[in-house]
């Protein structure tokens, strides 16, 4: 911003604030990490969906043999299955956390009731059961992701 001979500094953190939670001290705030993961997995999913559309029209483009060959590449350890595995992890976290966010953002559930400040001064929305849901979502998605890894790489 400029005014006369003064130039003022825009101190915006910018996009980095949504992609890297530790630009500020986030003690007592795992919601911020969930928010960041939701963003990152969302970006991964956009890429995945684009590739997925290209790959599922293989039969029309190159015939069924090419399709079978492509699907076979999804199991066993190779770069394609590795990318697929990452996309599946993103999918699981994004969908489970999405359910939590629907509860919180659409129905305003899990954020407690408004209350008068009292020690130890933790606002109700950080004490509500959405906080528990974060832990449930993370553990559940790790388990499902591991199972998917087993199916993709080892079966």
């Amino acid at each position: 911003m400029e005014r006369g001979r003064f130039r003022f500094l825009e101190n915006r953190l910018g996009i980095i604030a949504s992609l890297y939670p530790w630009v500020i001290d986030i003690r007592g705030n795992p919601e911020r990490i969930a928010f960041t993961l939701h963003r990152i997995t969302g970006i991964i999913l956009v890429g995945f969906v684009a590739l997925h559309i290209i790959s599922t029209n293989t039969p029309a483009r190159a015939g069924w043999e090419a399709w079978v060959e492509e699907v076979q590449r999804l199991s066993g350890v190779n770069p394609v299955s590795l990318l697929f595995f990452i996309a599946m992890g993103a999918l699981v976290f994004h969908s489970l956390n999405g359910i939590r966010l629907l509860l919180v953002e659409l129905l305003a559930l899990g954020i407690g009731r408004p209350e008068k400040p009292k020690p130890p001064y933790i606002p109700p929305s950080l004490k509500g059961y959405q906080r528990t849901l974060i832990y449930i979502v993370s553990i559940l998605s790790l388990i499902i992701w591991a199972l998917m890894g087993y199916v993709i790489f080892l079966m």
């Binding site: 101190n11 928010f35 659409l106 305003a108 130890p120 001064y121 109700p124």
Partner: protein
Amino acid sequence: MVFDLKAATRTPPRVVRIRVRRYNPETGSSWWQEYEVETYRGMTVLDALLKIKAERDHSLVFRYSCRMGVCGSCGLVVNKRPRLACQTQIAEVASEGRPVVELEPLYNFTVLRDLATDFTEFFRKHRFVKPYILRRDVREREEPTLEYSQTPDELAEYYEYSLCISCGLCDAACPVYASDPNFLGPQALAQAYRYIADTRDELWEERLRLLDVEGSIFKCHFAATCSAVCPKMVDPAGAIQRLRSTLLKYKVRVYRKTRVAKVVPPMEKREPQKPLPPEATLVEGVDLKLLEEEKPVIPVEKLLTS
């Protein structure tokens, strides 16, 4: 805010290094400057800054007014966390192992000089949500002769949000506000909800329509850092979720504000209360008749000496 309730009982390191991110608007240069400050027990970050200004460097610029966490003008980023300088003790943010306190101007604001930031935009957004009670009858609002009646339950619905001191810490912490200057920000949105939840306010429909725009509630994605840093436990994140759900319900036509406060004559002009019937017991568990018969003896001398 996650308060360190024990901070006041601890002694800070004897000498701390205060690193200040400075900025000069004439040359456009920004640099870190370090000052060593001798501390005392109970010293706040603001005390340290004042000491530097008095004894070491009078060119250091920062803003403060009340020194007791009420005015909201001393917001800073202390060790990467937005805090009120006057409410943060040195013992809370520095330890013997790391006697360093890093001070930066509030993120997401325009820096005027050193630690002072520009709040013009912040208050423009605050004004945008009309932070005052609106009634259909303008006369009643401007020249009130009557009072609004409100029950304690109705007060509890919004009391928490009315504690906001407009310090801007929540906007400094918000990741959406960091990348989108047009976002209204947690402070303004929490205040918008505060007036919608207030039963004394009548124009809730206009308020909801005002917020149904780009860059308003639907930009929030519940990172909840605003609530985590708020020094007054206002819980802007919770307010925004309630506001969004209210607006969505209003859009699908299942929401109406049912409770709107009526105007009543002031208390003193009301009809005198009817006297209680003689058989009513005023205090539960106390035998009034017995009390009247033998007056309890209050040991005044004992109370005074102990």
